[in-house]
């Protein structure tokens, strides 16, 4: 259960939320997109709900639709006609390195490819705010690094604000402008926040070699460890 989380995501900002399991990180994302109501408090959105997109940990593509139909669905559900939607879908699949895979069903794609289709699906809607709930946790290291590079580049190019929930500090630091740390639940709250002194645009893989990376990692890690140790 999450209690008292105030955080803000500025225009074009990449913000990460890290914290122990059960602190309510996912619930917060679900509240922002409107899948669940906060018991108390409010969510203030300066962007319309239709401008918010969410990427879950599992790709949750419709298994009976091909990759391009899955991507186009995000557009047709918002009133785009099928023809133009499919054109957009092909364009986004190509941007995510999946040209030629549009006619495959999710079952016939690898985990990384499915994740890319899910990304194309949310990005094709041109959201202003992108929420991501541990989106890359299920991928193996290399696939994951490559996809994160692509996400960083696309988010920069499209000037999308991002709120990322993750367990992975490296991922958080290498991608974010700002990191919020949640305390141990129950009654979790935002306990600390850290600006990351790394310049943007940046390559999230090479960001790990930046001089400021290790000290920040060390600091967040020790704060996070302290939170986890406070487990009741």
């Amino acid at each position: 259960m999450l209690e008292g989380a105030s955080l803000a995501v500025g225009d074009g900002q990449f913000v990460s939320l890290v914290g122990p399991s059960g602190s309510g990180k996912s619930s917060l994302l679900r509240a922002v997109i409107g899948l669940q109501q906060p018991l108390k408090g409010t969510v203030e959105r300066e962007v319309a709900p239709s401008d918010i997109a969410i990427l879950f940990q599992d790709d949750a593509l419709l298994p009976w639709k091909t990759a391009r139909d899955n991507v186009a669905l995000g557009l047709t559900l918002n009133g785009v006609r099928r023809g133009p939607a499919l054109e957009q879908a092909d364009l986004w699949l190509e941007r995510l390195g999946l040209a030629g895979f549009g006619h495959r069903f999710p079952r016939h794609l690898s985990g990384g490819q499915r994740k890319r289709v899910a990304l194309a699906q949310v990005l094709a809607r041109e959201p202003k705010l992108l929420l991501m709930d541990e989106p890359f946790a299920s991928l193996d290291a290399i696939v994951r690094a490559r996809i994160i590079q692509d996400v960083a580049a696309l988010v920069d190019r499209e000037r999308i604000s991002v709120l990322l929930v993750t367990h992975d500090l490296e991922e958080a630091i290498s991608l974010s402008d700002h990191i919020y740390l949640l305390s141990q639940g129950p009654r979790a709250h935002v306990t600390r926040d850290y600006p990351t002194p790394l310049p943007r645009p940046r390559d999230p893989v090479r960001a790990r070699m930046h001089a400021a990376f290790a000290p920040l990692y060390e600091k967040i890690w020790s704060d996070l460890s302290r939170e986890v140790d406070r487990r009741p």
Binding site: A53, A60, L62, P63, W64, L77, R107, V122
Partner: protein, 249 residues
């Protein structure tokens, strides 16, 4: 042994069995009253088709089975969806369906004959009740198990109620029904044949009971063989349909 020629070995074994059977029959080791030889069964089969009298029976059974199948699938889907969406319907329907599911539904055959006569209606009814209960449970339990993640996915992409029905619920229901299509086809033919066996003037089931009453083993085995082939062909067709429509799976 190479796994590639399994079917060849199976066929060879069948041929050997048939040769032994035929030889034993001709040697007088088998009583043709009980165990007619393959050639006698074949002759009965040829006679059925040669005389042309088989067609009316095939037509009767097919009509009853396919009508019962179609009606049963439609009713099963409608009731299953209603049951899953309207709590009152579920409350009233589930105990009845559970009861129907628990009993061997073919025991209703004599009752349907009394109610609906010895014509095709009683056979359709039996095939229908066999299929409808099966499909009802498939859909009813299926809808409750629709993947929540897919629902949330469509909702967060901006989809409303109708979008959920169209993009999540309908395809899920179709997948479950198709997954049970072969079983349903088998049920439909069981219903039609048993119904005809109980009381009818046409149909493969009627031919079976006729063969029984005249102690004609060759005819009976010929009809059993024919029903097997018919159902296998329909199974294959249903399998093709399933494979095409569920090609995403």
């Amino acid at each position: 042994m190479s796994p590639r020629f399994v079917w060849a070995r199976q066929l060879a074994a069948l041929a050997v069995l048939l040769v032994i059977w035929e030889t034993a029959g001709r040697a007088g080791l088998l009583n043709p009253l009980y165990a007619p030889s393959p050639s006698q069964i074949g002759a009965a089969l040829v006679d059925l088709f040669g005389s042309g009298r088989i067609w009316t029976h095939l037509e009767a059974t097919f009509t009853a089975a396919l009508l019962g199948l179609a009606l049963g699938i439609v009713a099963g889907i409608v009731l299953g969806v209603l049951g899953a969406l309207v709590p009152l319907v579920a409350e009233l329907l589930e105990p009845v369906m559970t009861l129907f599911n628990a009993i061997p539904r073919v025991i209703l055959a004599p009752l349907f004959v009394i109610w609906l006569g010895i014509g095709i209606a009683s056979k359709v009814a039996l095939a229908f009740i066999l299929v409808a209960v099966l499909i009802f449970f498939t859909v009813f339990t299926g809808i409750r198990q629709v993947d929540r993640r897919l629902v949330e996915r469509v909702v967060t992409l901006g989809g409303g109620r109708w979008a959920l029905v169209r993009h999540v619920y309908l395809p899920s229901v179709a997948a479950w029904v198709l997954g049970n299509l072969k079983v349903a086809v088998g049920f439909a033919f069981t219903g039609a044949c048993v119904g005809e066996f109980v009381a009818a003037s046409r149909g493969l089931g009627y031919l079976l009971s006729f063969a029984q009453s005249t102690f004609n083993s060759a005819l009976m085995l010929a009809i059993i063989l024919l029903i097997m082939v018919v159902v296998l062909v329909i199974f294959a067709l249903a399998g093709r349909l399933e494979k095409y429509l569920l090609r995403w799976n």
